[in-house]
Symmetry: C2
Subunit: 214 residues, 2 copies
């Protein structure tokens, strides 16, 4: 059995959606950030990074959203969510997801996770980072809007593992201080993704009141 | 023809090494950071992100090291640098490279590229970030040392696209303030990678006095 460890309102949603898209048999475990459960010994034994998402498979544990998305897609090739038979096209998918992971998500993380990059007691520097989030996240979304998002899906006519990942991170644009009027293509894309049954199922499951069993 | 746009002492080295490992026919163009050439209109037309590396192929441009490494490896399957036929094993490779890209490299970047995440004029916050680099980069290397690096290569017996990438980022550990005594496995790994002919060729080419033609 495959088990997704997640927390609501995190990037784990992207993998959750893709598990739904491919029709995988899987289970979920909600990690309670309010109790700092991601740092519990039990969870650290699963993912020593102390973060979600983590995907427990029969072969072992996978982390890192770009890797998890590609793994699920490649495990269910009939769903056609990534062009594994075309190294360049697959490279484009991976490049897009890597940009979301290492630039857009990282810029966003400076609003809530400042102590990753400065001393936890340095509230002045932490506030300086927070203030810059609309600029840095905005610039990353601008690049997605202007240079990357082909439409109707990220890679053009074909829905891929890029789409639920962009949808997931785009949910945070308003809280990050990015004016939606600046990124109409991204907003329209999110609306298209939200219409998919798999997305609605994953969201309903994550936002349901009680699921924790960890 | 494939062309790698790079600058010395950047993560572009990882892709450069892999191009050498697979015996690819390729050309290189050195981008002069001292003249801010990565922000020139000519280079922005190639890579709107204004960063290296970028790989220009007959099909288009690829960026993002994890994607570029997988692309080169998949384009030259005989070199056996990634287990594409095994979704879980390939997922582990991608997860490792994604961690280097989005955690280890990002932590490192807070030493030199602070204005990505705070106002460029905020020298106090920029200094606060710099001071934290030994902690954040050190923690990332600790995790690699303790949980990820199997030995002799990152994935165990098989040399993969994880190895030149770790080698490339590990070159920066001293400048990032990480005591090598803390990460003996990473240091021994770097020594093994440095012995490879492909690595020596890529390094010699990057560090040669004159190559710029852009």
């Amino acid at each position: 059995m495959t088990t997704l460890y997640y927390a609501p309102h995190t990037c784990a949603l992207a993998t959750h959606i893709v598990l739904e898209e491919v029709g995988a048999a899987y289970d979920t475990v909600r990690i309670d950030f309010s109790r700092n459960q991601q740092q519990s010994p039990e969870f650290l034994a699963i993912n020593p990074k102390g973060r979600v998402p983590a995907l427990v498979t029969g072969r072992g544990v996978l982390t890192e959203t770009p890797a998890m998305l590609a793994f699920v897609a490649q495990s269910y090739p009939a769903a056609g969510l990534a062009p594994f038979d075309d190294p360049f096209a697959f490279g484009e998918v991976q490049a897009f997801n890597s940009y979301l992971c290492s630039t857009l998500h990282i810029a966003h993380a400076h609003r809530m996770r400042g102590p990753r990059w400065v001393d936890a007691g340095d509230s002045v520097a932490i506030e300086a980072m927070k203030r810059h989030v609309p600029v840095s996240v905005g610039a990353a979304f601008d690049l997605v809007e202007r240079e990357m998002l082909r439409g109707p899906w990220v890679m053009g006519e074909r829905y891929t593992i890029c789409d639920p990942y962009l949808f997931t991170l785009a949910q945070w644009h308003a809280a990050d201080g990015v004016d939606p009027a600046r990124i109409p293509g991204v907003i329209a894309h999110s609306r298209r993704v939200a219409e998919r049954a798999a997305v609605q199922r994953a969201l309903a499951q994550e936002l349901a009141p009680e699921q924790s069993r960890a």
